[in-house]
């Protein structure tokens, strides 16, 4: 059951990434054509593109954690004995989780204030809290993905230890 939920979330993440990039590209391109050829355009195009960009990056963060593509320096971990490397890995994971927790808190309060304020975005007729509300969720998801990746690494190291 858990596996299936994971699978749906994974696919949804990927579909969202692809679609938001396609949306940004098409809107920006159409805007150029409209302005240059027909001397007209949409007022909302820029704001819509930048919000899509924000969402793309926020959702992409946890995709990067899942696929392990975030760049890190492996100067120390590759030179240590397995046990020490695992300890260093655990500390690094804790530091990353601390970052997620701080960002969840900060963005949560930010979104909460926008809800109290209740104003709309500049050109899009939607409340700002709705457009930025993805932020705490995205950082929470990043934390979960980091934990999963850390757990997989730990389990793999245990397996290797058992095999030896």
């Amino acid at each position: 059951m858990r596996m299936r939920w994971d699978g749906i979330l994974d696919r949804a993440e990927e579909a969202f990434l692809a679609l938001s990039l396609a949306f940004m590209t098409i809107v920006t391109f159409v805007q150029v054509v409209l302005r240059y050829v027909f001397d007209t355009g949409f007022v909302w195009h820029l704001e819509a593109t930048t919000y899509a960009f924000g969402w793309l990056v926020l959702v992409g963060m946890s995709y990067g954690a899942r696929t392990n593509t975030h760049i890190a320096v492996d100067l120390l971990s590759t030179r240590l004995k397995p046990r020490a490397a695992r300890a260093v890995g655990a500390v690094a994971l804790l530091a990353s989780l601390a970052y997620c927790a701080l960002m969840i808190y900060g963005s949560g309060v930010f979104v909460d204030r926008l809800m109290t304020l209740g104003n709309d975005a500049r050109d899009i007729p939607l409340p700002r809290w709705l457009l930025t509300g993805i932020m705490p969720i995205a950082f929470a998801l990043l934390g979960v993905r980091l934990l999963q990746a850390g757990w997989r690494m730990f389990a793999a190291a245990q397996d290797r230890g058992a095999a030896r």
């Binding site: 391109f29 960009f53 924000g54 593509t69 970052y99 900060g106």
Partner: protein
Amino acid sequence: MSALFLVVVLFACLLLGVPVAISLGLASIGTMVFFADQSLVSLAQRFFATMQVYPLLAIPFFVLAGTLMTTGGTARRMIAFADALVGHFRGGLAMAALLACAFFAAVSGSSPATVVAVGSIMIAGMASSGYTRAFAAGLICNSGTLGILIPPSIVMVVYGAVTETSVGDLFLAGILPGALLTLVLLASVAVVARRQGMPRQPRATLRKLLRTGREAFFGLALVVVILGGIYLGAYTPTEAAAVSAVYAFVISVFVYRDIRLVDIARVFKESAATTAMLMFIIANAYLFAFVLTTEQIPQMASAWIADQGLPPWGFLLALNLLMLLAGSFMEPTSVILILAPIMLPIAVELGIDPIHLGIIMTVNMEVGLVTPPVGLNLFVTAGVAELPMTAVIRAAAPWLLVLVSVLIVITYVPQISLIVPEWVRAPTAALS
């Protein structure tokens, strides 16, 4: 005190293997919470605002254009054309690989992407025609750095965004230094090839030259679409990036027809993932740069350097050494984001043109891409060449001499960088 905390936390995190983005973010948040009266709320707000910095919006589009060209056969066509041009010289295939890197750099804004595009085809090809794998890997690892010097360039977009310099001018300024580096690398290959008696291929017939040229034309025309559009005033650099993505899509899907519709979803997903990875670093580097400015660190650093009474050449030397050091430990966009705002005011004080400074920084970052411990091109080359990291580092090292000597020339001869933008600007200025 706060500066010390910031740097210590950053380096501790990096050393522990915390992702670069999170290391930058955690160090900045920590400093803000402990030393300044900034709330986490304002940092969260700033994080989101990074994605509304207009020039940075060019990044996803340039990444998409590059991925479309690599997935489709555009890179392969450029390689065929390069081979037809120089293949008959001694060491011709090596020269063709280098020239292909320069061509691909003109349609892609990223160096690692250039290495993947050319390396995944050419390293195997060179190995089967009698070159060693290590030689091919070392050459392509270094030639691939042209990706960020020849326009378009993601590193220049970031420099332009953070220093408020014209991205269009930076692109134009990169043309001549890019051509110079390509020629010097070609000459070095010629010398090595003669000394080691490398293989040559039969001269391509004129017919073949024309055919490969015509096939590569749609790819190579992209740089005209980008720069021409910006300078005719049809669109901004960010819009130019979107136009180039659509252009790359149209030629790959409808003209060359070598991307199938089922591959398209994957291309978009991969481009979005690469963008997110880059922007996650950049957004945190913006937080880092924000902490630096609120803590007055750039001002103090520039005051300190100004007090040293360095002449411009001395400043440029110090700048290069600092950039090379930073470039070996960090990835280019973070280095630019942190150091450009510190260095720009000092440089302007000493009469150095911001455009020239941008080019110097870009070439420094090229060197940083091939120096360990953090060199993206080294990582990527090891991947496509299927060689261990240590072998790639050793193979890439001799070419570094070429890169560094060109860096010195570009640093001390500003005209190489400035002549093209000035020449393009002159007629428009005369009109107004």
